[in-house]
Symmetry: C4
Subunit: 261 residues, 4 copies
Amino acid sequence: MTFRTNLRLALDGQHPRLGGSVEFALLALIVVSAIGMGVETLTGLPPGIYAFFGALEVFVVTAFALEYGLRLWVSDQPLRYARSFYGIIDLVSFLPTLVGILLTGSALDGRAMRTLRLFRLLRLLKVVRYANAAERLGEAWRLVREEVIVFGLAALIVLYVCALIIYQFENEAQPEAFSSVFSAMWWAAVTLTTVGYGDIYPITAMGRIFTVVMLFVALGIIAIPTGLVASAMSELRRRKTANDRTSSPHEINPEPPTRAS
Amino acid sequence: MTFRTNLRLALDGQHPRLGGSVEFALLALIVVSAIGMGVETLTGLPPGIYAFFGALEVFVVTAFALEYGLRLWVSDQPLRYARSFYGIIDLVSFLPTLVGILLTGSALDGRAMRTLRLFRLLRLLKVVRYANAAERLGEAWRLVREEVIVFGLAALIVLYVCALIIYQFENEAQPEAFSSVFSAMWWAAVTLTTVGYGDIYPITAMGRIFTVVMLFVALGIIAIPTGLVASAMSELRRRKTANDRTSSPHEINPEPPTRAS
Amino acid sequence: MTFRTNLRLALDGQHPRLGGSVEFALLALIVVSAIGMGVETLTGLPPGIYAFFGALEVFVVTAFALEYGLRLWVSDQPLRYARSFYGIIDLVSFLPTLVGILLTGSALDGRAMRTLRLFRLLRLLKVVRYANAAERLGEAWRLVREEVIVFGLAALIVLYVCALIIYQFENEAQPEAFSSVFSAMWWAAVTLTTVGYGDIYPITAMGRIFTVVMLFVALGIIAIPTGLVASAMSELRRRKTANDRTSSPHEINPEPPTRAS
Amino acid sequence: MTFRTNLRLALDGQHPRLGGSVEFALLALIVVSAIGMGVETLTGLPPGIYAFFGALEVFVVTAFALEYGLRLWVSDQPLRYARSFYGIIDLVSFLPTLVGILLTGSALDGRAMRTLRLFRLLRLLKVVRYANAAERLGEAWRLVREEVIVFGLAALIVLYVCALIIYQFENEAQPEAFSSVFSAMWWAAVTLTTVGYGDIYPITAMGRIFTVVMLFVALGIIAIPTGLVASAMSELRRRKTANDRTSSPHEINPEPPTRAS
């Protein structure tokens, strides 16, 4: 077995001796990197901590760049990998930060770096590669995809129309809070999801009447997709249980008891 | 084929050559008009934008008036169209704005115009004509209509009675916030939908105890219709799946009706 | 037929000529009385309105007192009626207000009257007599009564324990907001129902961590009864549909219990 | 029968004469202790009350210590009891408070006592021993455990990632409200559970857009476990009903599709 073949198996977690250890190390890097992003937001820690996470950042970026290069090298069709879903995720997980580090010459200081921070969050997408556990969620999603999309679009239209209406009622009374249709959409989203921060709410009689009607009518539209996903999930569970039971021949299935004469 | 027959087919989206293009153009007008209403609420844009949307408004109104006139003309029973659901929507989608424009001589300035803005929102109702996708929602609605109406009425009565009760408890302590049964109903609606803006809430011990009891009892009444619609939707989906399966003759239906011999 | 028999039939809505008209008149009195309670809370109306509703109050009380007396007279077992559920409701619907009017000599003025206002709300309970439409809700209730009571008790215990815990965390930091276990229970109820007015919330790190854990764990306990009622309702609907279908002999029941021969 | 055997039966509620009375007394002690913890938070009561609950505290702790000692003595395998779930609960229900009382020499005063108060809450865990009613909840839990854990983990990850993202958008605009990833996680938890106190919310355009997207996408993930538990509960109810029916031999099972030969 050549070194290239060995490497390919190791990266895919199928190496006879290494097993999933390379995969595990890469996953650990993602988790450490995510923790690092959180720690950097804390103030008042000893400076050594920030320096440590700055160095860690350089290490993580280097590791992911190396991983990307190696994956390109071991692949029989490098272009196909580069254009695949995972290939793009692997690229954006390190490229923007790498560019930032090379341009500013340091890991975490500088104004340009601040903007690049957001791109570092894309790195978390790499975790999708390891999310076998999410499989059943995906199955449920396929069951209800169509309805959820229809309701998602409906929710967007409802948001926009509700915003246009409340703007007409409230803009004159509260020109600052309801300054444009965007503020009104923010209000509509916060209200229809029942979060209700209280930073913006109607005060005119017409605006309040409309809000009550809207809540009672539109809450349904927004709450339905959740119900659909949940019912699909429990249906999947029931099916799985049924399959598990029918596979054992002598047990009587609780929901298809049949007595042939 | 006469010009009138051609026109009728074009308006109904069944013209042999034009196909759905007239329908599509009318739908595009509605969408553009809705976007325009949103843009007008923004401040600080260059004046040209407002002038453009003022002109667009005139164009849209003219187009819808023309559409209405043509539909009347091509119809074999113009009165029946005029009194139908779609006919009334088509009329209110342009008439108030048209009257406003003719009276003030301008499209978007003037105080009278401000009031007419609300009527422009009625224009969005025209989109119903194209909402084939909402069909399954309608089916689900028919399944649960009765319960939803019963619960809707119950919700209204609950709102009113809760408002009367909280008013007795809170009016003396907060004469401004709970100034009348209308403020109290606003409070009840915002609380029972769990939005809870925080602009108005009970502060007396009795008011708070009542609020807690009310929330635990009445939340159910208000949340139930949503659950009903969701379960009806998933039932429809299951039925549809069952139908798809029974159409293939050799497959066993998962919830199978059986006739005993 | 004696006058007493006639009267009894009229009160029960089974008189051959009067039909449900007496029942309807009594129901109308309840509704008018409820509207009156709302109107009284409005300020700035012409004094005639208040005088009118004051007189109406006297009339409603007199009418309900008369109804109670007549029901006692026409009943073969007056004591049994007086001790029945409806008898007690009929009594409390007028007695406290009647006592108040007799003591103060006026219908709505006076300090004593203010306290009696709450008792007038009991009058709305009379509407239960006419609520045939609520029958199916009652059926659903019987299906899930046991679980709802268990969860209701669990919710109360959860509220109390959460209040005790948050009090320990927040009392020192916010001695006014979390002044006692009662304030803390108010906080717990407003938070667990996700209303979140924002009048009282944790600010310490431990209090916030506990709040997040509490929300994720306890939301389930409180949201479950709603789900139970909704699923029971939809089960009832399904059963009713099944019954409607089996009654037509040649149609195949979609979920049909069959006995093989 | 020896005294030791008598005692063991009494503690287990199986004594021929005492029956469940010892169990009942211990349960009453827990409830009284819980009420005491609530009363202590009230201010302005006569000092006798506080003294009474101080004495009660000593009594409760002594009683639970005695119970623990007796249970150890009557057990055939004292070590096994001491290491069991109930044994640990029994120990922590009195030990910290006992240590506190012995150290400070008084029941409820002193600074050290304040910290020990939290441990007293652990005493409430003893109630689990008597919660037979919670059995069906446990059954439902076993049905959906797997999904709930997956979604619980997903919710935690969603919280953390949302907090990292909103921090990037809002920290510059509101350095005090979004001071670190912890504040941001508090915001994410309060928002995703739709509590929305209004103590912290996004004000930048990007932050608001992200919040709306997050709410619509992530609400589902957090609301699903509740739906799962509810559907499992109603499935259990249906099964129980089915069992009750099948036990009567001549009745037809409500959901049994059968294939006749």
